[in-house]
């Protein structure tokens, strides 16, 4: 029997101008990094509200990465400042409730930092993988548990 090694599924929210371009650069430069991320492109890191992150966990994501431009370099000038403030608060709340801190991470990656992007992802996956699949917040699992055996 083939045993499948667990491979975490990471949702990555990348801002269009910096991080997405950085990820693109990592691709064209053939930089190897853990292939676990599924990218969702947003125009700015400030677009990402805690709704998105929680929804990702509800749908079964094992980890969420949010990446934007460096402070001072936001294409919209101030977006990442707001994101920084907002997520400082949110990260604390997530951890307070018992979601492991390794499951959510923010990073600043610029368009020229393809190398850094690869490192960020690999480091993230390395931290998250030992925790195993995320089971606390998946709606489908809870609903499955409610399904009765009997068919009408």
């Amino acid at each position: 029997m083939e045993s499948e090694e667990y491979s975490p599924k990471i949702i990555a929210f990348l801002c269009n101008w910096c991080s997405y371009a950085g990820a693109d650069l990592a691709g064209t430069s053939r930089i190897q990094y853990s292939p676990n991320i599924r990218v969702i492109k947003v125009m700015c890191s400030a677009r990402v509200s805690p709704n998105f992150i929680l929804k990702a966990f509800l749908e079964g994501a094992d980890g969420v990465l949010l990446s934007g431009c460096h402070i001072g370099d936001c294409h919209y000038l101030k977006g990442n400042y707001f994101a920084r403030r907002r997520h400082a608060m949110f990260v604390n709340l997530l951890q307070y409730v018992g979601i492991e801190p390794q499951r959510f991470q923010m990073s600043w990656v610029s368009a020229s930092e393809g190398q850094k992007f690869g490192e960020v992802v690999s480091r993230f996956v390395k931290n998250v993988a030992p925790l195993g699949p995320q089971k606390k917040m998946v709606v489908a699992d809870r609903l499955d548990a409610l399904i009765a055996e009997e068919v009408k």
């Binding site: 709704n51 509800l58 920084r84 403030r85 997520h87 608060m89 409730v97 018992g98 923010m106 606390k136």
Partner: protein, 337 residues
């Protein structure tokens, strides 16, 4: 002890009237000076009246052409709610006429009902007695006796950590101004939870989330929740008669209607998060919850973080900008790679 402002200057005065028994009071709306005799202020007055101001925004108490201000009675804890509403530009200072009162503390019915037998309170006492403050402590006066209560066993949790007995903004103040305003200490219960491991924390919170029935009472009674379309309530939509069916159908649903643990977790966490820098610790959510969930532990955490991370207190000064609508170069950023 009652106001006479009901003569013309104000369209409706929001205060309290006697409720279903001596330990309970409910909000009441006084429109003529004669009705003002029914107004009370006693330890039974636990509902926070600031909510009624928000209700008036969605469901006007008076006709649309009546531009007179609303009157409201405000205790030491409620003034923060008014300040928050002014900050968020939902109302202007001129829209409310405030009577401030000196409040030594109000009762928590959930605590009180467990004490009735111990304190020897008969149902007759409950119906006909009068709850008063004696030397700033709560007592029940009946025709035959007077029962004094231990504050810890009867007052709302927030009253045990009162930040100040009188409000800071008011037009008229009844009672003496409380000069010692202390900030609420970071409650030990929150710190206790912070010390645990993630799995221990989840054990605690999963149990809490599993008991939630998603009645939305905490949201409806909240002094900062005024959104007509709630992000975590798929049953609310801000629509008009012209909204197309396609628009209604394509509304993103962040949380389903189910009340499984993950959905409840998202509901409660997001609501607490939306209260960052806006939660004033009125603890109405805690009081309202029919399942006795310790919601104050979530909202106090958020309030504590606002203070430690950004040195921000909700309801402190009207001039403060809302927490997430501005930023600072010194905001913490070590958690970002």
């Amino acid at each position: 002890m009652r106001e006479s402002l009901s003569s013309g200057a104000v369209r409706t005065f929001i205060g309290w009237e006697q409720g279903s028994n001596s330990f309970r009071a409910r909000p009441a709306f006084f429109r003529n000076p004669d009705e003002a005799d029914g107004a009370i202020f006693s330890p039974a007055c636990s509902p926070c009246l600031v909510r009624m101001v928000i209700e008036d925004l969605h469901y006007p108490l008076d006709g649309p052409d009546d531009r007179r201000p609303l009157g409201i009675v405000v205790r030491g804890c409620d003034d923060k709610g008014i300040i928050e509403l002014i900050k968020d530009r939902r109302i202007c200072r001129e829209d409310v006429v405030i009577i401030g009162v000196d409040c030594p503390g109000v009762v928590d019915w959930k605590k009180a009902r467990g004490r009735l037998e111990n304190e020897g309170i008969s149902y007759d006492d409950l119906a006909n007695g009068e709850l008063i403050w004696k030397d700033r402590k709560v007592a029940l006066k009946t025709s035959e006796k007077e029962i004094n209560f231990n504050p810890e066993k009867i007052l709302m949790n927030k009253c045990l950590e009162c930040e100040g007995h009188t409000p800071r903004i008011y037009d008229v103040l009844i009672g003496e101004e409380d000069k010692n305003r202390n900030l609420a200490q970071h409650p030990k219960a929150v710190l206790d939870i912070e010390e645990r491991t993630p799995d221990e924390k989840w054990e605690f919170w999963e149990d809490v989330f599993s008991r939630c029935i998603r009645c939305f009472a905490c949201r409806n009674i909240c002094t900062y929740c005024y959104c007509e379309e709630c992000a975590v309530d798929p049953t609310t939509l801000a629509i008009s008669e012209d909204t197309s069916a396609a628009e209604k159908a394509n509304r993103p649903e962040w949380v389903g209607r189910d009340s499984t643990v993950p959905s409840n977790a998202v509901y409660l966490m997001l609501r607490a998060y939306h209260g960052s820098g806006r939660c004033i610790n009125c603890e109405e959510c805690d009081r309202a919850c029919p399942m006795g969930l310790p919601l104050r532990l979530l909202n106090r955490k958020v309030r504590k973080d606002a203070k430690t991370l950004f040195d921000y207190e909700a309801g402190n000064r009207v001039e403060d900008p809302p927490l997430f609508s501005h930023y600072c170069d010194t905001d913490p950023g070590d958690f970002i790679w």
